[in-house]
């Protein structure tokens, strides 16, 4: 498992797109260093003011960049599964004494760990700068690293499913774009917007069904910002959104999606072996 994870890191580092992201992250960090000045308002700020300002900067940054960070991370990792399934690569991997679910799980974990470390670099640096400048050390912002990684992992499960079925990086990215920026936000606001326009119970049921079925990257962000603001988080219902909570948006869905990936991996090999492994037979 460690070998495949290590190789996934090498694959990621070999991609120029990741270098681009790191340069971008470094620029964001530099901006934080030079622009955020806690002493600017009438001399030295009180701790309470600093706390409020730090919370505002942190939640503001997460609100603006959350979906973009997840989407860019998905773009850069979306090719991992299709490239692994290429003829000549997958044959050799499967010929080794490793189980198929383990190959897939290791690849998945490698991508997730890589994104986790990228977030440690970006959000960890931001936290350090804000804390040093304000004197207010709030560990809750650091938890955002976990939440954003979990949100990424949930979305990446979908990339894995699409990668396994279509072997197409482009399709995986397009579907994720649609989910992150169109469908999921629409479903999140279904009670406030859609249901006021639609009275048909079947349509409402479909919207509800899709809402609970599909991943919710936005709700992960709500949990992260709620924690930063010191709001109480319920295991089943978050304060940010009365219908979803920590457990329902993270653990359960993540587990369910990944189990689905593993199931699909096995089904594909038993039912449609030609699709992946027998592009030509002789």
């Amino acid at each position: 498992m460690l070998t495949i994870i290590q190789n996934t890191f090498r694959e990621a580092l070999a991609k120029k797109i990741f270098i681009g992201y790191y340069i971008f992250y470094a620029i964001v960090i530099l901006i934080m260093i030079f622009l955020v000045n806690m002493d600017s308002v009438e001399g030295v700020m009180s701790l309470a003011d600093s706390k409020m300002l730090v919370q505002q900067v942190e939640t503001g940054f997460l609100t603006i960049s959350w979906n973009l960070i997840i989407f860019f991370s998905l773009i850069s990792t979306a090719s991992f599964i299709p490239s692994m399934l290429e003829k000549g690569t997958i044959d050799l991997l499967i010929s080794k004494p490793i189980s198929r679910p383990m190959i897939l799980f290791s690849k998945f974990l490698g991508a997730v760990l890589f994104v986790f470390l990228s977030m440690v670099f970006l959000l960890g640096s931001m936290w350090l700068i804000l804390s040093l400048k304000s004197g207010y050390w709030d560990p809750m912002f650091l938890l955002s690293i976990l939440w954003i990684t979990l949100a990424f992992a949930t979305m990446y499960s979908i990339v894995v499913i699409i990668g396994l079925t279509t072997q197409s990086t482009v399709v995986a990215i397009l579907v994720n774009f649609f989910l992150i920026f169109v469908l999921c936000p629409l479903l999140s606001t279904r009670e406030g917007v859609v249901f006021t326009l639609v009275s048909n119970e079947t349509v409402k049921f479909i919207f509800d069904f899709l809402y609970y079925l599909l991943p919710k990257p936005g709700e992960f962000r709500d949990i992260a910002t709620s924690m930063i603001n010191g709001d109480q988080i319920n295991m089943w219902k978050s304060t940010a959104n009365a219908e979803t909570g920590l457990f329902t948006v993270s653990c359960f869905r993540q587990l369910a999606l990944f189990c689905l990936c593993l199931l699909l991996w096995r089904i594909l090999y038993f039912t449609f072996p030609k699709k992946i492994t027998n592009n030509n037979y002789q």
Partner: protein, 310 residues
């Protein structure tokens, strides 16, 4: 215990658009013993690659069973002592030659450390790739990639090695080197399962071959036995054979083929000795007497033609 054992293997594919069923393997049963170099021959679409993929559990048979070292191939642990060089293999292009070997070595169960490094050095040296070890493989030529693939398949010192077109893209000197390496592996009691289109190469390397056509096993046996043409002899003379001598030869063997300085007989040693007597009585000097053998290529073409006619 056989190294490879298959029982009534049957593989059927359904074509994507026409939905037509294609039999890639039909009731295929064979065994491979330890220390053999076993060659798999057949025209394109005969089922060779399908067979290798089934043996490595890359694809699964529609019916029948396959075992490696007595363990069902569906159990991934059966592949612990197996090396594989696929046809048109694709290594991660961002790795160096050394990293490729390290990566696949670890996937084969080797532990990273001094022993593995030593083994990698050994393999790179054997393939004349030492000076390229730190070079990214995207800069490698096809021949170098093939050698690296071969090194990868042998790295963990497996007891059974599957080689799918191992000399593809390798120059004649490289081919000779690969043949020598395979002979060396065989001398250490390892088993090699070879799939190659180069019949002359298979003939030189393999102990036993199986010929497949349209999914059927149509011939299997030792290379020497299959290529031997027991009763066919050729006599070469120094002087040209005159019409008078031709008549005398035809009198002892009516079916003898007579050229200007060559007589071919297909009726065994008795007839051969009579022809030699005739020639010597006529004061004809004999240059050589050879027992004829079919090349594997001739055998292959004859067998496939016959099977296609049937």
């Amino acid at each position: 215990m056989h190294v490879i054992e298959t029982q009534n293997l049957y593989k059927e594919y359904t074509q994507k658009f026409s939905k037509q069923k294609v039999n890639a393997l039909n009731d295929f049963t064979f065994n491979v013993e330890q220390g053999e170099i076993f060659g798999l021959l057949g025209p394109n679409g005969a089922g060779k690659t399908t067979l290798i993929k089934i043996l490595l559990a890359i694809t699964f048979p529609t019916n029948g069973s396959a075992k490696l070292f007595g363990t069902d191939v569906r159990n991934y642990k059966a592949k612990t002592k197996v090396g594989y060089l696929p046809e048109n293999h694709k290594f991660p292009s961002y790795l160096t030659g050394e990293q490729v070997l390290s990566y696949y070595g670890q996937l084969s169960g080797m532990k990273a450390g001094a022993d593995m490094t030593k083994r990698i050095d050994e393999m790179l040296g054997l393939m004349n790739l030492t000076q390229w070890r730190k070079t990214k493989i995207k800069k490698y030529s096809k021949g170098m990639m093939q050698k690296l693939g071969l090194a990868q398949s042998m790295l963990s010192d497996p007891d059974l090695i599957f080689l799918d077109e191992p000399t593809d893209g390798v120059d004649p000197i490289g081919r000779k080197e690969i043949r020598d390496i395979l002979a060396q592996i065989k001398s250490r009691g390892k088993t090699i399962f070879l799939n190659s289109h180069l019949l002359s190469e298979v003939e030189m390397i393999c102990d036993r071959v199986a010929i497949l056509n349209k999914g059927d096993l149509i011939k299997e046996g030792n290379v020497d036995d299959l290529t031997k043409a027991e009763n066919i002899f050729a006599v070469h003379t120094v002087e040209p054979i005159s019409m008078e001598i031709k008549q005398k030869v035809l009198a002892v063997d009516a079916n003898a083929g007579i050229g200007e300085k060559e007589i071919n007989t297909e009726t065994g040693t008795a007839s051969l000795n009579k022809i030699i007597d005739v020639l010597r009585n006529c004061n004809i000097n004999i240059l050589s007497v050879n027992q004829k053998t079919n090349t594997l290529e001739e055998l292959f073409i004859n067998v496939i033609k016959k099977d296609n006619t049937n």
